[in-house]
């Protein structure tokens, strides 16, 4: 181990070699991606099932979608890992502090997509923002957008459902984050923070920045690889489970059942979908394959979007983490405002399309 480390220090891989490697990988990726449909058909043909049967249909779906989603994720998560290396919570905070509400909410929600964020640091980030004078509502816009609008959700939507739905999700996810943050800011709920947070806030003891060394391109590529490794470790099982379940729905659930339960005619389907989605905890990877299958069976787009947003944006574990800094009253307002926004999006879509 030590010898390996010494060798690595002696001859670090030059940046151009990394860049060439990345370019070569993208080229190979492109070639393989084009062959996925014939490859999946070939795999199904090797199995002792009738291609035209329900089982054959479900299997073809599974063997095409799993590699497709994995490949898309690898590429996009790597790219986002590199892009995120240009952002940090400290820089984002500096950009947001002193911003007025309104402009601040828009900027904050957008930065929520680009800033590296993990729900386990939600609390230090929240306090870091609030104590540096970022308004509460602007902080909430960030906290809503960061988990809801992320590259995993968008990649899966593009890959499994189509770019139109992905773009819709992006626009309305951001809108909910902006509007919900704005509303929470207008309610002046600073008094509903936990007392110890309020003290930090009032003292405005903004912690000083840590001087971050300028990253080299090699370091950025490595961060991209690290992001791929980390996200795959977290989601691969969900993807296979989700696509498997999606394949079952695809092959076996009768069409008219879904139209009746989740079609646009059933107005109550949107609130039911949101109410079901809030306590459910899975990430985008697990829920979107199911979303695709439901859409294919005639579920209404608004209902399905509402369900998906509720699952991803409002989760019980995140509430428990935030409980350390927010009082229950404030958490209730948070769920109410975000849930209301999701309901509105669901109804709007069922009404429009």
């Amino acid at each position: 181990m030590t010898m390996q480390a010494q060798e690595m220090q002696k001859a670090p891989t030059p940046a151009w070699l990394w860049s060439a490697g990345v370019a070569a990988f993208v080229a190979v990726w492109w070639l393989v991606y084009g062959q996925l449909i014939p490859a999946s058909e070939w795999v199904v043909a090797q199995l002792p099932v009738d291609r035209a049967s329900h089982t054959g249909d479900a299997l073809a779906f599974f063997f095409y979608d799993v590699p497709k989603v994995m490949m898309l994720l690898t590429l996009i998560v790597f790219a986002m890992g590199v892009v995120r290396s240009f952002f940090s919570p400290e820089k984002t905070r500096a950009l947001l502090s002193g911003k007025r509400e309104g402009v601040g909410n828009v900027l904050s929600a957008s930065l929520g997509i680009l800033t590296p964020f993990c729900s386990c640091s939600a609390v230090p980030l929240f306090i870091g923002f609030v104590s540096a004078g970022v308004p509460l509502g602007v902080t909430f816009s960030f906290l809503i957008a960061a988990p809801m609008v992320n590259e995993v959700a968008l990649v899966l939507l593009v890959g499994l459902v189509g770019w139109q739905v992905a773009a819709t999700y992006l626009v309305f996810g951001l809108s909910i984050a902006i509007v919900a943050g704005f509303v929470i800011g207008k309610l002046n709920l600073e008094g509903w923070l936990q007392p110890w947070v309020r003290d930090i806030h009032a003292g405005a003891s903004a912690p000083s920045d840590i001087e971050s060394a300028r990253l080299t391109w090699v370091a950025r590529y490595k961060l991209g690889l690290e992001a791929v490794r980390e996200i795959f470790g977290r989601v691969w099982m969900w993807i296979i489970l989700g696509i498997g379940l999606g394949a079952l729905i695809h092959g076996y659930v009768p069409q008219d059942l879904m139209v009746r339960i989740m079609g646009a005619e059933a107005w109550w389907s949107v609130p039911v979908a949101v109410a079901m989605g809030i306590p459910m905890y899975t990430n985008a990877a697990g829920v979107i394959p199911i979303v695709e299958a439901l859409l294919g069976k005639g579920a209404a787009l608004g209902t399905v979007l509402a369900f998906m947003m509720a699952v991803i944006a409002l989760s019980l574990p995140e509430m428990i983490i935030l409980r350390q800094v927010l009082t229950l009253k404030l958490i209730a307002v948070f769920i109410g405002v975000v849930g209301g926004g999701i309901l509105a999006v669901g109804f709007l879509f069922n009404f429009l399309f």
Binding site: A5, S121, P124, W196
Partner: protein, 76 residues
């Protein structure tokens, strides 16, 4: 040398402790490594993303599991 690893107990925080422990064993430096899981204390260091590493009272790293090379450099 007094090292503190800041983090609420996520997988990355444990990995950070492991990296530092191994780096300390490699260099033979006399260090004490403590994990800080209390949120108030973490926030007190002005850290916004975990895991964070504090050496002799100074925050040297935040937001990711440090590499072996980084850890080695801090312990020199």
């Amino acid at each position: 040398m007094e090292i503190k690893v800041l983090g609420p107990g996520c997988a990355k925080c444990k990995a950070t402790v492991d990296v530092l422990t191994r780096a300390a064993a490699d260099t033979g430096a006399a260090v004490s490594i403590t994990k800080i899981e209390d949120m108030r204390e973490i926030v007190g260091y002005g850290v916004m993303s975990t895991p964070g590493v504090v050496i002799d009272g100074k925050v040297v790293h935040v937001g990711s599991v440090p590499t072996r090379e980084q850890a080695g450099a801090w312990l020199k």
